[in-house]
Point group: C2
Chain length 200, copies 2
């Protein structure tokens, strides 16, 4: 129904994740209406993120080109404790808790033999390299609590424990504010398995 | 949590309609991952739509700059019947029915005194100008069947009827495949009011 540059824009927008044909159409018409400077700024920010963003050479978090990421560049952070995550977005989730003052290591995925993702496709070698170089004393395995994440955590634990450092895994259990009745049996099982002494 | 060009992109994306913070984040990381050419093509299509798109000088539909829109440029269409819509997107909806072979007129809104939108803010004067110039014999008032759309249709009917042309309004009623039981009383009332003789 649409032709020319409007059709082209709707097609491009429709390729973005989570954007269906209706949303693409709505966004395209929104872009038609806003001032040219605003549209130009959006377009520029897309190009800029590709030109200027790279991976931190230390932890493989997202960083502005040629720099360490914000966490690695911050020397108030504890360099000896490293939280291992699958994805840069997971760093944001951990940071939001304000419970962690160490550094990160981004694997960029999780083990998934069916999709051909083994240790060589992840940043595992680089993690091993950091243990000695940065005198790391603890790694917190913060991969997702699903099949791939658990397998990855288990694999890393086997690799890291012989190096004589503490290797911990985030707890699985009932979400805060959750309800026993509605907990799935796997989660409740984990919560019981991971029970802790109550200090009165 | 994010900084630099990634932060800027997430902010820009978050301004688009229907894109919340989570979607903006997801799209930004998607853009980080795709090849630079693909990101560049998306950015270019945003700029192109602003540079190349304008409003059709005849009906105010979207058109490539300096041209009539696809409908007005197509001389197989009946120039004497004009379907009046609020928005260019409504044209796509009508076209999809394949029930209409005339031309369009886009008002770019509906009367809404509370938001300061009167006839002067809409393309009403231009519609009046077309009636004589293009020898229009019928206008189909195809504004939305809501408060603003009905008010606009009523206003236009009062304006156009004295010019001696046929002025019609799209029917309100139960949607095809609908269910009497679930119809709201306004719609069902309209359906009864607009009842038609059954020709056996």
């Amino acid at each position: 129904m649409y032709t020319g540059s409007l059709r082209a824009l709707i097609d491009e927008l429709g390729r973005l994740p989570g954007i269906g044909p209706k949303s693409a159409q709505r966004i395209a018409f929104y872009i038609l209406k806003i001032p040219s400077e605003d549209a130009r700024r959006l377009a520029d920010s897309i190009v800029a993120v590709k030109d200027r963003t790279t991976l931190c050479e230390q932890c493989f978090n997202v960083a502005e080109s040629g720099n360490l990421c914000d966490v690695c560049a911050d020397d108030r952070r504890d360099a000896h404790v490293v939280c291992v995550v699958e994805d840069p977005r997971d760093i944001v989730a951990v940071e939001r808790t304000q419970q962690f003052r160490g550094r990160y290591h981004v694997l960029h995925g999780a083990l998934n033999p069916l999709e051909g993702i083994g240790p060589d496709q992840l940043r595992v070698r680089e993690l091993l390299g950091r243990i000695d170089a940065e005198e790391i004393t603890e790694t917190i395995l913060c991969t997702n609590p699903n099949l791939e994440g658990e397998a990855t955590a288990m694999y890393l634990a086997r690799l890291l424990t012989p190096l004589g450092i503490a290797v911990t895994r985030i707890a699985s259990g009932l979400p805060v504010g959750g309800d026993l009745e509605y907990a799935d049996e796997l989660t409740l099982g984990r919560a019981i398995e991971g029970r802790r002494a109550v200090v009165p």
